[in-house]
């Protein structure tokens, strides 16, 4: 029966091409607009490290005190830690793994004298960084606790940077000048692009520009200044490097891996006690104010999804809604125009459920064709978005195989919903009244 209804539906669609075309285009445009924006939204809001996002946490400690002019609905916790606090958390060593980190920009002199010096984006961090974030290696491996403790001059390169400097060869053991000191390459990363770069949501958080990694302890020795945000209170950054390290300025990011619920609550208690101890010692003169957020909470808290993307996504669903109302109206017109034919079928013994099924199949076919048009429009939409979106977002907006199926399924589903009322109206046709008009 389904096959027969399907054939009837195709025939009926061919009969009034203008009306059919309008319906198909309406559904296609609605699906195309909403799928385009949804793909971009998903790219902007994706979980960058799904396998571990629930066990990685950012601690926050209020070291600036209550802000008199703060807007009421924000917690105003500092985004980063001071060097002192970060080191206290490193020493406490309460997580399964933990790493303090910051970004710095250094001049790199390539081993090949023919190449000009260039600027490199360096991340100074601890050895746990690599195991905590599941960072894959192509050559060599990460440095270990020993290198952290001895402030070793070792460096890990990302793959693109290794390609640039060493033509993609295994460069483990080679030397590289960073600033004016030599460093030994200990590992080269495989492709790794967590997006957004959740562990540092500063500038370019979607492209992630880190190119080299070296031990935090070494970077502090070498007085490599941060290239990220440095926020201070009234006391300022103090004088010189040592002044900065002892200042109340925040510039260090800190991540900790806590694999059990009890570990998480223990860490919360620890943070609270730490802030309380700082109050006791006279450094803070306000009650402890701390937080511990996992990856997804951290991204939401930092509004990683651009407001404009959120707006456009809601607007695109308004388009889908208008398109569906439109399709409902057109289907109503189409089904009612066939009242005569429905009357004949009813008179020949078709039951109401049979008419219902026939009309619904027809709606489904419209949805199917509309969905295919929608997939095409989504592709066009994404290509044109790629040319105007900021490059850091556009690399993420690719349509995946599953999306095509989802788009078509959604198109059929919404068209069936849109077709419910027209279908119901069609089943209400009185055979006798219709036969009279024939």
């Amino acid at each position: 029966m389904f096959g027969y209804y399907f054939k009837l539906a195709l025939r009926s669609l061919r009969r009034n091409l203008v009306l059919t075309g309008l319906m198909v285009i309406a559904i296609g445009v609605g699906i195309g607009a909403s799928m385009t924006m949804l793909t971009i939204y998903r790219a902007a809001s994706g979980d960058p490290i799904p396998q571990k996002s629930a066990v990685l946490f950012v601690p926050q400690i209020d070291n600036f005190g209550p802000q008199p002019n703060a807007p009421p609905n924000q917690d105003f916790l500092p985004q980063d830690l001071t060097y002192m606090d970060a080191m206290a958390l490193m020493r406490a060593h309460l997580g399964l793994r933990q790493a303090a980190m910051y970004a710095t920009t250094q001049s790199i002199t390539p081993p090949n004298a023919a190449q000009d010096p260039l600027e490199g984006y360096v991340r100074a961090t601890y050895s746990d960084f690599f195991s905590m974030f599941d960072v894959p290696f192509e050559y060599g491996g990460p440095w270990g606790k020993a290198e952290d403790d001895t402030h070793a001059s070792v460096v890990v390169l990302t793959r693109p940077f290794n390609d640039l400097l060493f033509d993609g060869m295994n460069s483990v053991g080679r030397m590289l000048t960073i600033g004016d000191k030599p460093y030994r390459v200990i590992g080269v990363l495989d492709d790794w692009h967590p997006s957004p770069r959740f562990y540092d949501l500063g500038q370019d958080s979607f492209t992630g520009t880190d190119q080299l990694f070296l031990p935090f302890t070494r970077a502090i020795d070498q007085q490599m200044s941060t290239s990220g945000n440095l926020n201070c209170d009234r006391a300022g950054p103090g004088s010189g490097w040592d002044g900065l390290l002892h200042s109340n300025c925040i510039w260090i990011h800190f991540w900790v891996e806590l694999s059990t619920a009890s570990g998480v609550s223990k860490y919360r208690t620890f943070l609270h006690d730490y802030a309380a101890a700082q109050r006791q010692s006279g450094r803070f003169n306000w009650p402890p104010h701390v937080a511990l957020r996992d990856v997804v909470e951290w991204l939401t808290y930092n509004h990683v999804v651009p407001v404009a993307v959120g707006t456009l996504t809601s607007v695109s669903f308004a388009i889908l809604f208008v398109c569906l109302i439109n399709a409902t109206g057109l289907m109503l017109a189409k089904f009612m125009a066939r009242s005569g034919g429905v009357g004949v079928r009813r008179a020949l013994g078709a039951t109401r459920p049979a008419i219902f099924a026939q009309c619904l199949v027809e709606a489904g076919v419209i949805g199917l064709v509309g969905g295919l048009v929608g997939v095409g429009l989504t592709k066009i939409g994404l290509v044109s978005c790629r040319s105007v979106l900021p490059p850091d977002l556009s690399i993420l907006t690719r349509l995946q195989g599953a999306d095509v199926l989802i788009a078509v399924a959604v198109a059929i589903a919404v068209t069936l919903v849109a077709g419910l009322y027209p279908t119901w109206r069609a089943t209400q046709v009185h055979p006798a009244a219709q036969l009279k008009t024939l």
């Binding site: 950054p237 900021p390 008009t437």
Partner: protein, 406 residues
Amino acid sequence: MELRPVIAAMRRNRVGALLIAMQIAVTLAVLCNAVYIVQQRLSWTARPSGVDEADVFVISNQLIGSQRDLGSRIQTDLAALRAVPGIRDSYASNQQPLDNGEDEFGITLDPDHPAATRFTTVYYGDQRALATLGLTLSAGRNFNASEIGDCGDLPSGSLGGALVTRELAKQLDASGNVLGRVATLVPISLHVPIVGVIDRLEAPNVDLFGGSSIVEQSIILSCRFVNSRVDYIVHAMPGRLAETMRVAPLALAAVSRDRVILSVRSLHESRREIYRSDRTIALMLTLVCIIIVAVAVFGIVGLTSYWVSQRRRQIGIRRALGATRPAIVRYFQTENFLIAAVGVVIGAVLAVGGNLWMVERFAMTRLPFAYPLLGIVAMLSFGQLAVLWPALRAASVPPAVAARGV
């Protein structure tokens, strides 16, 4: 035009009429808010930076090698740049307008009252800054050579002088009377006398402040910037920008190769880059408006055409009874007007509601009343436009139809 028969006919077609009204309502709501956002973003991107953008470019430079004599290295570089034919002037700064930057501080004339502290963005510059950027001095004077000091990190203590924008002057003192007074930068406790007021100079991150006038609150400190990472701001003679942008890096390389030239960009390019996302949003929302209006219009065309074909016999009867063609056209226009009127009223409410939701969630500003009003006029016109073709087809139904099959 008698409304009663129109309303009576609509009663028999309640759902169809309701569907059109709903489409018009949602379309109006989206249209108002989208056009408002587009208009807002475009007005942001059109704000002048205060700089003579047509002739200025910036060389971002990282000096490497020995860091001991940075000050004299930078001065040598600048002298080499000024010697390039076609370059009028240049100076070294920490940052440039229309690009990402930082160095944001509090500023006040009254350090004892924290509430009087305002936001400011700090540029460094010597006595050449004013001419190189092409800024207009509206009061006071430029720096003297004697006021210029070397700054690497911002010193605490005191500095020779500062130029503030008119907006910052107004923020510091309601009457704008700031000349000769000493400003204090917080939290670093830097004291500096204000020697001049400039018309306008935007902060670097103009894209981050959502159109707020806070981007106008800039200050130039009388400093020769001494840092390994330094921006050379260069003013080319009129019409010689492209040529000097090509030659300038070569002139620097001739001075010394111990450097990384990070970028050479005209302010035009910087402007394009920094307002890119605003333009993207404006473009996409414009597309959205076109799509949603087109969908609504075609929906009205489709459904009205169906009504026309359904009522062919009735139209024929009316024509046979003496109704003229314009009368038939007017009938469908009136019908559409009544439906659209209901739609636009609901739509105006939705538009304001949607805007309030965005005010709440995305810190949008309130929609001015002109937008829903103009939206209502636009949607009613679109409705009339959409109904025209089906109505004309209805008018062409011959009266003879009435004679058939009665």
